[in-house]
Amino acid sequence: MHFLECYALNCGLKIDKPFIHEEECEVPSGEYITFHGTHDFQSKSYSHWQSVIDLVLAECPNLKIVQIGNESNAKKYSGTLDYLNKTDFNQSAYLVKRARLHFGIDSFPGHLASCFEVPSVLLYSHTYKEQCYPFFTEPKYLRLIQAPLNTHRPCYNIKENPACIDNVRPYEIFSHIQDLLE
C-alpha cells in the first residue's frame, strides 16, 4: 500500500489531485530534464550518478540536465546545469512542470514531477517502491528501479552500510531514461 493510501484510509478521506503554487523562475532554453540525486539520507545516496549523466549526454547531446535540490551537502555533477539551492519549493514546481522528464532518487522532486505527470525514472533503496512511488503519474510514464537488497527487506534507515542503492547499474538507469525519452 502506498503511504498516501494509508493516510487516506487512516482518516477516511478520499484522494484527489495534489496542489502546489508555482512561482516563475528562469528556465533553461530548449528541452531539458530535471535531476535530483543527493539526499541527506546516506541510504538514498547513489555513487554512480556521474556515469548515468555521461551516458545521457552522450546519447542526447542537445538535452540539458538541470540538477535541482536544496541539500546542504549536495554534490554538483559535471555536465549538468546547476540549480542547486537556487529554487524554493514553488520555483521547483515551475521548473519540474516544464521538464521533459525527471530522474533521480525517491524524494520531493519525484513527487513534484508526479503532480504534473512528468515522466520519471526513480531509484528506491531503503523502502519498497510500492510504498512511495509517484502516486499521480500514469504507470506507463514511470520507471521505478528497486535496488537489489543486501538484506531480506529494505533497511528503512537513513544509513545503510554497504548501501544497496549502489547495486543498481548506471546503464540500467540510463536505458530507462532513454526508453521514456523515446
Binding site: Y7, L13, H21, N90, F108
Partner: protein, 109 residues
C-alpha cells in the same frame, strides 16, 4: 459543522505535498469548516495559496495528541476534528471518533 479542523503533517516535503490531495475531501465533508494545516515551518511554502487551507500553522510536539487537540473529559480542545494521518492510532481514532461523519464508511446503527 462550522468549527475548526486541524490536519497535521509535520514532515517531510513529499508527504506534505501528497497530503494536499486529501484536503478537498475534508472541505467536501465539512464545507463550512475552517481548515488549519500544521507542519514544520520549512514546508510552509508547499502550502502557499492552497485553496482548501484557511491557515497554515507551525507544528508543535503536542499536536501528536488527538485528545489534547479535540478535547477529552473536562479538557476542551481547540479543534472539533483533528486529522493525524501519520499516526497508526488515527485509524482506530477515526473509528471511535464521536464525530461520526469523520468516517467515510457507511455505518448503520
Amino acid at each position: 459543522m462550522t468549527g475548526k479542523i486541524l490536519f497535521v503533517m509535520p514532515r517531510s516535503a513529499g508527504d506534505v505535498l501528497c497530503s494536499t490531495s486529501l484536503l478537498r475531501s475534508i472541505k467536501e465533508l465539512y464545507p463550512n469548516c475552517v481548515l488549519h494545516f500544521a507542519t514544520e515551518r520549512s514546508f510552509f511554502n508547499i502550502l502557499k495559496n492552497n485553496p482548501y487551507i484557511d491557515e497554515v500553522i507551525e507544528y508543535q510536539e503536542y499536536m501528536n495528541n488527538i485528545f489534547h487537540l479535540e478535547g477529552c473529559g473536562e479538557h476542551k480542545g481547540d479543534y472539533e476534528i483533528a486529522y493525524l494521518p501519520f499516526l497508526n492510532s488515527q485509524s482506530i481514532m477515526t473509528y471511535q471518533h464521536n464525530t461520526h461523519n469523520k468516517i467515510a464508511y457507511s455505518i448503520k446503527y
